[in-house]
Structures are given as C-alpha cells and as structure tokens.
Amino acid sequence: MPPYSPGRRAVLGGLLGAFALTGCGTLRGKPKVREWNLFGGGDGARLLQIHQQYVAEHPDVAFQAHTLAWGPPFYTKLAMSAAGGRAPEVATMHMSRIKGFSPTTMLDPIPVELLNAAGIQQSDFLPATWDRCVVDGKLYAVPLDQHPFVLYYNTEICKKAGLLGPDGKIKPVKGVTAFLDMLRAVKSVTGKYAVSVDTTSPWRLWYTLYGQLEGKFFNEDSTQLVLDDAKALEALDLIAKLASEGLTPRSANYAALVAQFSNGDAGMSFNGEWEVTTYQTAKLPFSMAPFPVVYDVPKFQGDSHTFVLPHQSHRNADDTKATIEYIAWMLKHSAEWAAGGHIPAYQPVVKSTEYLNLKPQAEYRSVAPNVLYDPDAWFSGSGAQLENEAAAAFSGIASGQATPKAALAQFKAATQKLLDTPSPV
C-alpha cells in the first residue's frame, strides 16, 4: 500500500489552491492599471497610439485599456461595476457627469499627494476646471481636456464668400445681424446650405446661444428650474430662422452633419471639435475658430474628459500609485491627445510649442475659460437624459413641426418631471 494516496477532493482542493496562488503571484508581480474609456471615434484611434507609447515606456505596469460604447452604455457599465466595488482602476468620465454619478459612493477620491508626487499640481489647471472636480472638499477627477462647441469652416468656400481676413483666417463676427450676414454669404457660394449642424439634437447649439444671452438654468442648489423664457425663446427662434431661411438643413442627424460639411453642401459646421481627424483624413480645405459671439457674452457649450477612480472595495496601494502615475503621464502627453481636437486641460501643454503649432487645433484654444458645462443634476451631462429631452423637444423646430413656444413648454415640463423624480444616485 502506498504511504499516501490523495482522494479526489484533496486533489481538486490542491489544484484550486495552486491556481489561486499562481494567480495572485502574477497579479501582484506588477502593479495593474485597467482603464475604461468611451472614445470610439477619431479620438479613440489616437488614444490607442498614446497607450502603445505608454505601454512601451512602462514594462513594469500590467496595463489594459478597454473602449466601451459612448454614452448610456458606458455609464451604465461604469455605475454597475462601481456599485459592486469591482471597478477598473481608472476610467474616463465627462466632467458634467461627475456630480450626477454620486461621487461619494461610486468614485474613490484622488490621492492628491500621489498626484503631486507624480508632478501634477492644482496650479497646472484653470481654476474653474479644477473646482468642478472637487466634491465635498475632495478631488474626485483629474481633467484631461475640454471640448467646446466650435466653428469649422471650409477655407475655399469662405474665401469666395469674402469672409477671410488677409491672414487667411475667418474674420470674427459679433451680433445676430453680422452672424446672419456671414451665413448668407456662405449660402450664396455653396448654393445649398451655409452651415451643417445636428438638427435632431440641437442641445449644444441652443445651450450655447442661451448661455451667450446669460440665461440661467437651475437655482443655486439645482432644485428648481429657473429658465428665462424670453431668452430661451430668442435662442430657439434663431434656430428656427436659420432653418427656415435654408441656412441650415431642416433635418440632419449626426452622420448627415459630417457628410454635408465634407461634401461641400455646407461651407461651415457647428459641432464639437472632435471631428478634426475626419476632415483631415478627407483632405478637406478647412480650418476652425471659436463659435461666433452671437449675443452678449462669449459662452460655448462644452464638456471635459476627466480621469476618475471608480469605487473599488479593496483598493490596492501599488495599483493606485501606478494608476495616478498613468494619469500624470497622460496629462504630460496630452499634446498628442490634442491633435484629435480636444483642448488640453493641463496648462503646461497648452503653453507648449508642440500644441501651439497644431493647426487648426490651436485656433480655438482661447475659448477654454468660457466653456459652458451642462447644468448640474443627476439627469444632466453628456449623453444623459436632459440632453435626450432637449433633442426630443427641440428637433421639431428646425424641421418646422413644432413652434419654439411649444417646444420650450415641452422641454420645461420634461425637465420638471426629471427634477420631481427622486434622485436614484
């Protein structure tokens, strides 16, 4: 008889134990940084390149990046993983979504001392940007960039329309009349539209115009809707006028907006700045500028991508340190990120010649302090319900199916309903 013959359970148990040990061994060998992001477009391709460089320079970090579908699918998955305490080490998040994401329960605060140790200081950011990342005195996000609503213009068409200055850049206009004159000049050259814009989701255009009229949205603590009807209507009336004059299409979704600017049906485009790569690849003669100041003050709807630490029940100190170092590295390399259109949030990069030489990406950097974020509420922010409600109510204005008055009433009622719903976060 052999001295010891292991039973089935002993063998299975032993194997399990061995797996567990080796599993832990490899995982703890290198600090791990798992990153979730929502960049599926032209900026996503750029992120992959930057990540490749990061991986090449950091063989000592087990790095994994995952790109998830933009908008609700991304935030759903992030919320579920954070609620379960098994989130990735780091994720990207729109700044406008931070407060609506219940930071104290679903995000872990950023250890500022680690950030400082990695060479990143508060003074490296615009104060307004930094302050929005602070909740209850703790830092919950590190801003990567800003992405405002801007003006794209086809340089050949605008030259024929006599809109370019001697430097070849578009002459800035101010006021409604000058704005309309400019668009009419473009339309006379293209023979079709002046501007391509997403009419099925006009939130960005409307909020920009409303912001330029200095309209307020919520009261101080975001419990009451304090929309200024007269100003809201003035902005909506202008959107209706643009469409009825044929300066913008009556109906264009996002894909059509890109196509109409690409094929020259429109000499200008109002959009976020992230389509630079698309138009560069299409070899379009174009440049970019801040969106015109149509009304009183310069305000431009926009948002900002940030890095957050989604909640983990058992956060590992080594992983967190490597994660913060990853964030710092990304900020210092954000000139490459800026090539995709976004304005870097990290000011040393904004001042660098590498960024300043980026054309047309550096042409609209002056708007950074005037970026207008979506209102603060659990249902607000990029891809959140408030933007959907605005799209539903306002899309009929350009198509002529709804009057600005009726659209505004619908939007206000929908927003009020969201306000009345107890916050689920």
Partner: protein
C-alpha cells in the same frame, strides 16, 4: 424494488440538471428578483433600497411616457406583422421552384436576415437621408418632393417598418418554404387531373395546408414585433420627439440611463403580462383554425 421506482421517476432529473441549473440561474431567478425589485426603489448605483409597496406601479399608470411608448410598440406591431407574414408567403411561393432562378431567389430573400442590426440600420439610415439618400434621390428624379423619412412624426415609424420587413422577412420566408416543400406533389397531381387551375390549387390546397405554419409564424412574428428595440434605437433613437420610442426603450432608459431599476422592473412586468396575453390569445385563435381546416 422501491429504489428502482425512485430511479425511474427522478433519474431523468440528472440528465436535465445542467439545463435546469442554467434555467434557474439565468431565467427563473431574474424573473423573480425583477418582480421583487418592482416594489423597491432599487437603483443601479446600488445606493438606496427602500420598500415602496405599490408606488412604482402607481407611478407607472400615471406616466404618459409608458402609455405613449406602449402605443408605439402596438402601432409598430400592427404595421409590421401583416406584411411580414404576407410578403414571406409570396416570396416562398415565388422561390419554391427548382433551378438557378429558385436558388437565386432563395438566396436573395434570405440574405438580409443574416446581417446584424447595426449594419442594416447603417445602410437604411443612409438610404433615407434627405439630400443624398437613395430613396429621396429616386423621388426627386421622378419629379416628387423629398420626404424627411426619419425626422417626421408620421413617416419615421413607416421607415422603421420598411427596414424591418426587408431585414427580417427572410426567417418567415424560410419557415414557409419548408412547409411548402413538405406538401406532397401527388396532391397537386390529383388536383390537376381533376382540372383545377393554378389559382384553385393555391387557394384550395396550398394555403389551407399552410394554415398551421401561418398560425405559428403569426404568433412568432407578433411576439418578435412586440419586442422591437434595436433597429429603432439605432435608426431614430426613439425620435423624432419620442414618436417611435417603443416600450422596451423606455424600460431601458428608466433602468439603465436613469439608474431606476425598480421602476423599470415594474414597467417590464406590465409589458410581460401584455405579451403573454397576446401570445395566448393568438395561439388559441390560430390553433383552432388549424384543426378545422
């Protein structure tokens, strides 16, 4: 003796155990926990979890978005089910022939069905575009005015129905084709000898013998149409102004965009009940007719 008896009764259980386990974990448990959740204000963010009693259910009955999206779902079902059955039948009758033409028809009728929703919607959204889309190009070439298919209240649903029929009719077509090929040739031979013409053969032989298949297809199609979500979400995102938003999208938005899982569960139970009622009613209706034929 007793042990053998026990084996005979329960022995089969071991063979179905793997399936049973999956069924309980992925079907039975979610069904029960979803129902349970509908009485709480369960949040996807996992923060609060208070018992609400029937509050979610009361909210649901007073929520116009529930009823408008339910109406959209029913409108879509009513618009899409008849063509999906009739077109499939016509296609099957046309393709039920030998030779190259039969093969070509069978292939081209079924081909769209294998495409994923994302591809189908991408193609059709471009086809429907004003300004440069195929459909509007044909319309303007023919001297008609352009139609803003996806951004006009009363056209968007029609556009989605057309896309859906093009995309999914292949499956019903296949079921009909199989049933057609199961009808013995002798029946037609006898009819021809009796002097029945083609139309008489169609209405007196083919259609009656297909009635069971028609019943099956109608029930399957009705349930599939009621569950409409992906092509609408991708083509119109429920717009313009929620004119095409189906109930499943509202459930998705409540639960996943707005994190209100409890409320979304309550709506999905209302919808579940409706599907069950419709399916049972349909099946009774058609299985009765099948026997009498």
């Amino acid at each position: 003796m007793e042990k053998a008896d026990w084996k005979q009764r329960w022995g089969g259980l071991f063979f179905v155990a793997p399936f049973l386990l999956l069924f309980v974990v992925f079907m039975l448990w979610p069904v029960i926990s979803g129902f349970w959740n509908s009485f709480f204000n369960t949040s996807l963010a996992g923060v609060k979890h208070e018992f609400l009693g029937l509050q979610n259910w009361r909210d649901l009955f007073g929520d116009p978005a529930v009823w408008s999206s339910l109406k959209n779902t029913l409108v879509f079902t009513a618009m899409s089910t008849p063509p999906l059955v009739i077109v499939a039948l016509v296609m099957a009758l046309l393709a039920n022939r030998k030779g190259l033409l039969g093969w070509l028809l069978r292939f081209s009728y079924f081909a769209p069905f294998v495409l994923p929703a994302t591809v189908v919607t991408l193609i059709w959204v471009w086809i429907y575009q004003p300004g440069f889309g195929l459909v509007n190009g044909l319309l303007t070439a023919g001297g008609f005015a352009e139609i803003d298919w996806l951004n006009t209240d009363n056209r968007a649903m029609l556009a989605v129905v057309i896309t859906t029929v093009w995309w999914t009719v292949g499956f019903n077509f296949l079921l009909y084709l199989a049933a057609l090929q199961g009808i013995p040739e002798q029946v037609y031979e006898a009819a021809r000898i009796d002097g029945a013409n083609g139309l008489q053969q169609l209405f007196r032989i083919t259609l009656p013998l297909l009635s069971r298949t028609t019943g099956l297809i109608a029930v399957l199609q009705l349930v599939a149409s009621l569950k409409i979500f992906d092509q609408i979400y991708l083509m119109t995102n429920g717009g313009p102004n929620y004119a095409t938003r189906p109930i499943i999208q509202y459930i998705y938005e409540s639960g996943f965009t707005s994190y209100r899982i409890g409320y979304a569960s309550a709506i999905s139970y209302l919808f579940f009940a409706i599907i069950v009622i419709v399916a049972v009613a349909q099946f009774k209706l058609f299985s009765g007719r099948g026997e009498s034929a």
